[in-house]
Each structure stands twice: as C-alpha cells, then as structure tokens.
Symmetry: none
Subunit: 224 residues, 4 copies
C-alpha cells in the first residue's frame, strides 16, 4: 500500500464512479484520436480558481497553463527554459487552438506580494520575487496611489497584469500571425472568488460582466 494522500484517492474514486462512468467513451476517443482543445487557458495556480470548474469544461476542451498570477513573459528566443512560452508554442503550433484566454482573479496572492513594499524573499532563491518582477513597474506605479484602498489597488494590478500578459502574448510571432489571419482570438477574463462573478475584457481593455442571456442555446448549436 502506498501513502498517497487519502482524500485524493477518495476523490478519484468519486470520479471513477461518477463522471468517468458517464464519459468513458469520450475519454476513450480522446485517447485514440488525440486532444483537439478549442482554448488555451492561462490561469493562476490558486486553489479557488480552477478553469475547468469555472467554465464547466469536460475532458478535451481546455489546454491549461497555470503559474503564479497567470503571467505570460515576453517572447525571448534565448537558451533558457521557458515553461509558459513552451506551452503557448505547443498550443498554437501543434494543437492549433482557436482562442487564448488569460484569466486572472481577485485576491491573488502573487499580485498581493508584488504590491507589498516590505516583501522579504521567501527563500534564498527568491523565486516569487523574481517571477513577480514581470509586473514590477506597474506594481510600483499603482503602489504609489494612496487614494485607492489596498483592495482597489490589488484589483487594479490584477487587471493591469492581464492586459500586460496579453500584450506580451502578442510579441510571439506565431500568436501575432494567428490574430492577423483570423485563426486565433486572444481574450482576458477576471474571476471574483468572493461572488463568483466573471468579468471579461473588451477591446478597450476594460472588464465588464458578459451578457449570459441566450448563451446556452447558441452553445448547444456550436457543440452539436
């Protein structure tokens, strides 16, 4: 017997007796024919914002990158290991996904760390400090705004960071090309953990609540 965490085994048992039983054939086909997800979703590691849960997606739908604060670095063709860039390259060039969605969320610990002027390195490697330095200039500008509350500054940086990631996405030649040919759409979204509200980004970069009336009917047609 292994000491694998018991509550994960219990959860797996629920999966097998429930969802997997219902979708056995779908899993079999996805294994045989390969995945063909429609969307690359770049999300945060946060335990409260799982993309498959929020978008009620089944197996085969979302190719998901999750890193702290759902960040995309700029296109840097050097010799380093770029986990997020590798996933983007694979999703666009091999899987030929239709959409890229960068989804941030409220109360993000990474963004909170970026806005903390007294943050000490969490370890000698200071990995979080370096990773969050991707939004350092924006964080500093927002930090200095003493008219907004701490919570408003946090939401502001969460949204600035999504726009920043989307701008960085467009520095990848194959992403830019996909947008230009119409093969690829890039979107931003922000999830409010507290209320369950989803906000989506419009063309000006503003976040708004989407209209959900009539959406399900169209979706059924799309997936039929």
């Amino acid at each position: 017997m292994t000491d694998f965490p018991n509550r994960l085994l219990a959860g797996y048992r629920n999966f097998m007796s429930g969802r997997y039983t219902d979708e056995r054939e779908r899993y079999r086909l996805l294994a045989e024919k390969g995945q063909k997800p429609h969307t690359l979703l770049i999300a945060c590691c946060d335990s409260r914002a799982a993309p498959e849960t929020i978008f009620d997606c089944g197996p085969g739908e979302l190719f998901v990158v999750r890193n702290v604060a759902n960040m995309v670095p700029r296109y840097e063709p050097d010799s380093q290991f770029h986990g997020t860039s590798a996933a983007i390259e694979y999703a666009v060039q091999v899987l030929e996904i239709d959409n890229i969605v960068v989804m941030g969320h409220g109360r993000c610990g990474g963004i909170q760390a970026a806005l903390d002027p007294n943050l000490e390195p969490l370890s000698p490697g200071d990995f979080i400090g370096r990773w969050m330095s991707l939004v350092r200039p924006a964080a500093e500008q927002i930090q200095s705004n003493n008219l907004m509350t701490a919570s408003e500054r946090q939401t502001a940086l969460e949204r600035v960071s999504i726009r920043n990631s989307i701008a960085n996405l467009k520095t990848f030649p194959f992403v830019r090309n996909g947008i230009e040919t119409g093969a690829l759409d890039v979107h931003g979204a922000w999830f409010d953990i507290s209320t369950g509200e989803l906000w989506v980004m419009d063309e000006q970069g503003d976040f708004m609540r989407p209209e959900l009336n009539g959406v399900d009917v169209q979706a059924e047609q799309t997936s039929a």
Copy 2:
C-alpha cells in the same frame, strides 16, 4: 460587447446555476479567509487530464501548476524567471501545503515530442525543444531501446520524467527540509486517459494501482 468565446460563457452559466449555487458560502469563506489548500499538484497542460476533475476536488483544495509534461526543473537560484519554481516556493513557504503530487499521464504530447528524433523546432524560438531538453538524456537513452514498442517507450519516459521531477523537487532546500521534518510528503501519479486508471508511485519509484476499498470512509472522516 466582447466576443468572448460563447461556449466558455455557456459553461460559466452552468457553473453559476449549478456548482456555484451549491457552494456559494464556501467560495465566500475562501475569499474572506484566504486559501489553505492541502496539496500542490504539478500537472500537465493536457486538456484530458485536469487534476480537479480526476480527483473530484472543490475550490480551496489543490494549488495547481500546469506546464507541458508536468516538469520540475532543478533548484537554480539565478536571476532568471522560473515560473514553476516560484509556484513551488509560494506553495511550501506561504501556503504550507502538506503534499506535493507530480502527476503525469499517458499519450503526453510533450513526452512524444521529446522522443521524436526528427522533431523540428515549432517556431524560431524552439521553446518546446528547449523545455523538453530537461528530459533529453533520459529521452535519448530510451529512444535507443529498439526492443520496446513506441508506446512502451512513451510510457517509460512519462514515468522516468515523473521520477526525474521528484528528484529535482528534492534539490529545493525548503522542500528537502519539509520532507525531513515530516511536514511535507512528495508523491508521483500517472493517469491513463484511455481507461481512466490512476497509478501511484511507491517508495521504490514503481507505479501501481492503489487500493480504493474503504478509502471513501476515511475521507469522510478527514473532512468532517
């Protein structure tokens, strides 16, 4: 109005009228009190292997990193951006999670690419090529084994890669320290997309089907 993908909006609508309605209070408390996940789960981006689905986990349970082929690099305290290392640092040092699970899966596109001797760069940046070079030596050794079938070589490298990630995890001083003090357990798992089978790693590094009988009762006690 935005052109946010319709099927994601339809899924979000399902989430709001279904799961969110049932768990509204849980989300509210998780927002108010912060997350306290029990497990850091390092998984692949693959659309067919979402950890929350496979382990039937709700909001607040899993802090999830997803990159191509669920890889962990070695501890490298340099000045680069290390997304995966940053997430591990945050999960262990700030969230004080109890478990780290590295979960691989069958038919992994990243592993397949690593085993392809003729793979061309997917873009001038060759991000996937560089990212998968983390398992290059292992891939080359397995590639040269002409007694195993292509499918067997793939499964072999998927499992070697999980063991490799776990070994790299242990190069992080704070992970090693957590294991030594008993505060942290590190596990491997492998999910077979085709059959839905979960295999977990034992102390020798072998993968086996876990015993599920009696598991759910204990789980109920844990969450009570």
Copy 3:
C-alpha cells in the same frame, strides 16, 4: 393654456391616476404631520441615477440633495452660500435623519470632466471647472496612471470622490457628533448605470455588492 412641457404634463397625469391615487392618504398625512425621512441622500444630477427610482422609495423617505458628481465640500463656516452644507445642516439638525448616503454612479459627466486634461471652461464663469476643483488633487494623481484604462480611471475617481465626500461630511461638527453618539450612520454607494448593479462601501472604504437574500423580510419587519 401654458406652454409647460407637454411630456411633463403627461407624466403628471400618469402620476395622478396611478401612484397618487394609491397613496393619497400617505401624501395627506405627510402634509399634515410634516416629513420625517430616514435618510439624507446626496446624489448626482444625472438623469440616469434618480435615488427614488433606484431605492424604490415613496414620498417621505428620502431627503435628497443632488449636485454635479454628488459632492460634499468641507465644513466652511464663512459668509458664502453653501447649498449642500445648508441641506446637510437641515437634515441632521431639524429632520434628525438616521443615515446619510453619498451615492455616486458610473459614467459620471462631472468626474469625466475632472479627468479631462484639456477641458475648456464651459462658460466664462467656469462653474463646472471650479466645482470639480473639489477633487482636483485626486483627479491629477489618477490622471497620471497610464496603466489603467480611461474607464478604470473614471471608476477609480468616482469612488475616491465618494470617500472624499464622506471624509468632508465628517468635518461638520454636528455630523461627527451624530456618529459618535450613534444617532447617525454615514454610508457610500455606487450605482452602475449600465448593469443596474449597486455597490456599497464597507468600513475599509471598499465597494462591494451587498447580499440581498433575506433583505426584504427584514425590511417588512422594519417598516411594520
């Protein structure tokens, strides 16, 4: 026959045959016994944000000040005409209202003018320019934030301005005294014209969606 605007006369006719007929006795009593409103509501002149409509209030409930951008100046006991200060004084000292609510709203023209670096005086008197100078320092700080979109800057200043008005309210000795003795509560609110959403201010000055479940039952008890 007068040339009084026809659509106002038509609306008045609707009022008389509808609402007034239903509430004839309430109006008669309010005339006989005088008004005893529970709330002083300081709102904007905007035609899309009438307090009685948004809070579904009948005659006798809200004592309403409306000026451009729902602003409260600081306590200035000089010899000038202070319309808003006079209304606050009358509401607190004569009517002894229980609550003061400062309600701002989205897409406020006054706030938009305050954020426009090129705004020309609208007339030689430049009344709007002078009136909006009450939030000039805040407007300048927010104007300089080039990471937020124009729409985000506008919402930020709308909320800063509400907090500013509430801070100014507390410079009036009789308001401060009412708060200290518990006779008076001061609140902020922000109405989103586009979606109909109401956001209310919490003790930290943050705006959040109020919980409406169960509210009507309590309200019936309160008004019974």
Copy 4:
C-alpha cells in the same frame, strides 16, 4: 459585510426585480450612448416632492438639481464653489437640454425657516440661515404683512421664490442666450403635497392648474 440601511437594500431589490428588469435595455443604451435629458429640473430636497415621481419620468429624462427650497443664485463668476450654477452650466452647455423647470412645493421647510423671525442658527456655521438669505428681502416684506395668514404668507413666499429663481436664471448669459434663440424654455411649477395638485406658472408669473385633457395623446406622439 457593510451595515448599509436595510430598507434601502430592500428597495433596491424591488427595483432590480421590477422596474430594472423592464427597462434593462434602456439603461444599457443610456450607459452606452450617454444621457440626453430634455429637462433640467431644479427642485427642493424635500422627501415628499421627488420630481421623477411627480412627473412619472424614467431614466434619462430629467437632469435634477435638488437644494433646500429649489433656489438659483444670481450669476456670480467669482472663485467660489457654486454647486447649482455648475449644474446649470453643465445642463445647458454640455447636455443642451430644452427646458429648465424650477419646481417649488407647499409646506417647504426652508421657506418656513426664512419666514421665522426668531430662527436661531441651526449650527455655528448657520448654513441654512445664509442659504435662505437669498430670499431675505422678499421674506421680510411678506413677514410684515399681518393681513395674510401664516399659511398664506408661506405659499406666497414659495411662489415669490420661484419667480426670484427664474429671474436669477436669466442673469446667466448662456441661459439668456438660449431663451433668445429659442433653444431653451424656462418654466415655474409648484406642487401641493397635501392634495397632489400641480400648479404651473404662466407668462405673467401667475400659478394656475394646467389643462390635462388630451395631454397624454400628444405625449405619446412625442415619444413615438
């Protein structure tokens, strides 16, 4: 959670489930295209005389200034903060409204204060005293008339004050200009809280009951 007044939340809930549901699209369009109200309505803060209620107006129709006793000061292009003048400037110069209506009402507390020879300052700032000094000369003349009852003196000053505000309105160059070119009409009205009667001012400054027969038909044509 905030302690926002419960009866306001209950009223908001009614608004959302009732009127807002019926007019959702109208609010959305008003947010998107901006307001274009036909009338600037200058009214009193009194809780029994809400203009939107009396004229049965929906969102987007009335730009509303409310101060104690619905007063308009004279055009004074000095460096002071003039809330009412700012609203008039914005309504005429930016919104280009068609009508200005000054609406007084019976049993007005501000007018009553102006007629009280023994009125003490309500606070050391004496804001009401100073504000009502805008009608001081008229108030003193009427106060001295011992042939009229107290109630008759009050109604008389309420109407004198409306005519006074209209005269002051015409000291604003842009108002005078609008009247001369025919772009702008200026009106007076007086609402009797006790009976619900609306009286409108004719060209001689007299108040009369308007003829309502046939009015609604024209209104339908206007809004068609």
